[in-house]
Symmetry: C2
Subunit: 276 residues, 2 copies
C-alpha cells in the first residue's frame, strides 16, 4: 500500500474525541486504521469498543500500552505481569496485533539502570508464551533518554533490539517512534538491524519541538513543525522491509484544544507533505 492506505491515527492525537467520535471522524476522513489506548477503551467498554471499531471497518494498528516492568519487589512485579496479561487479552479482543510497551523507569530510590533493564528482559520472557496464545506481539518502545529515570529505562533502538532479540521475533518486536529516536546518529543502523530481523512491530510519528514543557510529556510537535526529518525515517523503515501501519501519535494540548476534525485534516495534510 502507498499513500494514506498505511496511515493510522493514534487516538491520543485527538484526545478530545470520544471513541464514537474517533470512529466517525476517521470514517469521514477516509482513515482506515487507529491506534487505541487502554484507558479510553475500558471507559467505553472493551467488548463494545471492539464491536464499534470492527463495525466501522477500522483496523487497530496497536494498543497502548503495557509495560512498567521494572518493579523490584515481588508484589509489584506480579501486579505488572498480571496487568500486561490483561493488556494482551484486550489487544486480542480489539484485533490489535501489537501491544506497545513502555518498559518503566527506576524504582523509587534506585540508581540501577542495568538491573531495571534486566527485570524488563525477565518479564518479556514470562509474557512471551502468553502473546503466542493470543496472537499479539509485544513492541518494546525505546523512549527518549529524558524519560530514563521515571518512565522507560530503554532509551535507544539498540537497547530495545538487544532486549527483543533475546526472544522470538513473533513474540517481541520494537516500536520505532521518531520523537524518541530522531537525535541518535546510530538509528539508521538500528533500523536496518531491526528490519533484517523482522523486529519492527510499530512505527509512530511525532515531531520534536522546543521549548519542552514542564514534565516534558506533552510537548510533541505536529508533523513538520519541528526538527525531525520524518520522510527520512519513513524511507529508512521501508528500506528495512517494514510495510505496516504508519501511526501518528502526538501528545499536544494545543491540538486537543481544537476541533478534532480540524486536527485530523491538518495531520493528513502534514503527513502528505512531510512523510509521503
Amino acid at each position: 500500500m502507498t499513500g494514506l492506505g498505511r496511515f493510522s491515527l493514534n487516538q491520543q492525537t485527538v484526545r478530545q474525541w470520544s471513541l464514537p467520535e474517533l470512529v466517525a471522524g476517521c470514517a469521514a476522513a477516509g482513515v482506515r486504521q487507529v491506534g487505541l489506548w487502554r484507558e479510553p477503551v475500558r471507559e467505553y467498554g472493551l467488548t463494545a469498543a471492539a464491536r464499534l471499531v470492527r463495525g466501522a471497518g477500522l483496523g487497530v494498528s496497536s494498543l497502548c500500552r503495557g509495560g512498567f516492568l521494572t518493579a523490584d519487589d515481588p508484589a509489584g512485579r506480579a501486579a505488572a505481569l498480571a496487568d500486561n496479561r490483561a493488556a494482551i487479552e484486550e489487544a486480542a479482543e480489539l484485533g490489535a496485533g501489537v501491544l506497545v510497551l513502555v518498559c518503566g523507569g527506576l524504582p523509587p530510590g534506585s540508581r540501577d539502570l542495568h538491573g531495571a533493564r534486566e527485570r524488563v528482559a525477565d518479564a518479556l520472557g514470562e509474557l512471551g508464551p502468553y502473546t503466542d496464545r493470543h496472537g499479539v506481539r509485544l513492541a518494546v518502545e525505546p523512549l527518549h533518554p529524558m524519560f530514563a529515570a521515571d518512565r522507560c529505562v530503554v532509551s535507544t533502538l539498540r537497547q530495545a533490539l538487544d532486549l527483543a532479540e533475546r526472544f522470538p521475533a513473533a513474540q517481541v518486536g520494537v516500536a520505532v517512534d521518531t520523537y524518541h529516536l530522531w537525535w541518535d546518529d546510530t538509528v539508521a543502523a538500528g533500523l536496518a538491524r531491526a528490519g533484517a530481523g523482522g523486529r519492527i512491530a510499530a512505527f509512530q510519528l511525532a515531531d520534536w519541538v522546543t521549548p519542552l514543557p514542564e514534565g516534558v510529556l506533552l510537548g510533541r510537535g505536529q508533523l513538520g513543525d519541528g526538527s525531525v526529518d520524518l520522510r527520512w525515517f519513513r524511507e529508512r523503515v521501508e528500506e528495512a522491509g517494514y510495510a505496516g501501519p504508519v501511526e501518528v501519535e502526538i501528545f499536544n494540548p494545543a491540538l486537543w484544544a481544537r476541533e478534532g476534525a480540524d486536527v485530523l485534516a491538518e495531520v493528513l495534510c502534514r503527513y502528505r507533505k512531510h512523510v509521503l
Copy 2:
C-alpha cells in the same frame, strides 16, 4: 590528590554569589578550584577577575563556555569562530587550561543533524592551532539528547570522541558531565576509550531529578537527590586515568534562592557522601 583536593565549584552552582563572594566563600570552605563562566567574568572585568582569583590562590578548572559552532551562514560562522577565539584568550588569561564547548543546535528550520555535526568538526579544525598558541584545551561537551535541537547536536560521549579524535589530544578533549551521560549504557566503554586516548579534559557532576522544568535547562539536581550513580562515574573516570578536577555544576533555582555558603556546605557534604 584525594578527598576534596580535586573538588571544584562551578560558579553556576552558586549563581547568587558575585565573583568576590565566590572567591571568599571558597577560601572559607577550603575549596581550591573554581569553574568560571564568561558572562560574570566579563561583568567583573577579565583582568580584575584573573587577578582576584589568582590572588586568592584559587585554580580555575574550566571556563564555560565556547561553542555554538553550527551556523550554516558565513557571517554566523565567522562570528562564532571570532567569539571562540576570544573565549580561548579569556581562558588563557584566567589560567584555565580548559574551555568547555557547547557545540550548538540546529540552525532555524534545519533538520540536518549530520551537517551540523560536520560544521562543528570544521570549526574545531580551525580553532585547534589557536588553542595551542594559548595553552588552552577545548572540551567538547556532549549534552543530553533533549538538547539536540536547540543547544548541542553532540549528544553522546561516543559522538564527542568521534569528533575530538580527529584532532590532537592536546587541542581537543571531551567534557564528561554525569547529568548528560548517565542514561547511556555505552558510557563505560566511552569513558575507557576517552581515558586511553587522554581525551578527558573535564569532569562535571550534577544529579538527574524529575519532573523536568519547562525548558529543561534549570532542572539539575543536588548531588544525591536523583538517579545518577555519581560514585560509579567518578570511579570509572579515575580508572580511565583521569586525575583532574571534579567540578560540581548544578543549575537549580532552588539552590540559587539560598545562602551561597549554605549551598556550598551542602554540596561538600553530598560530595563526600555520594562521590568520594
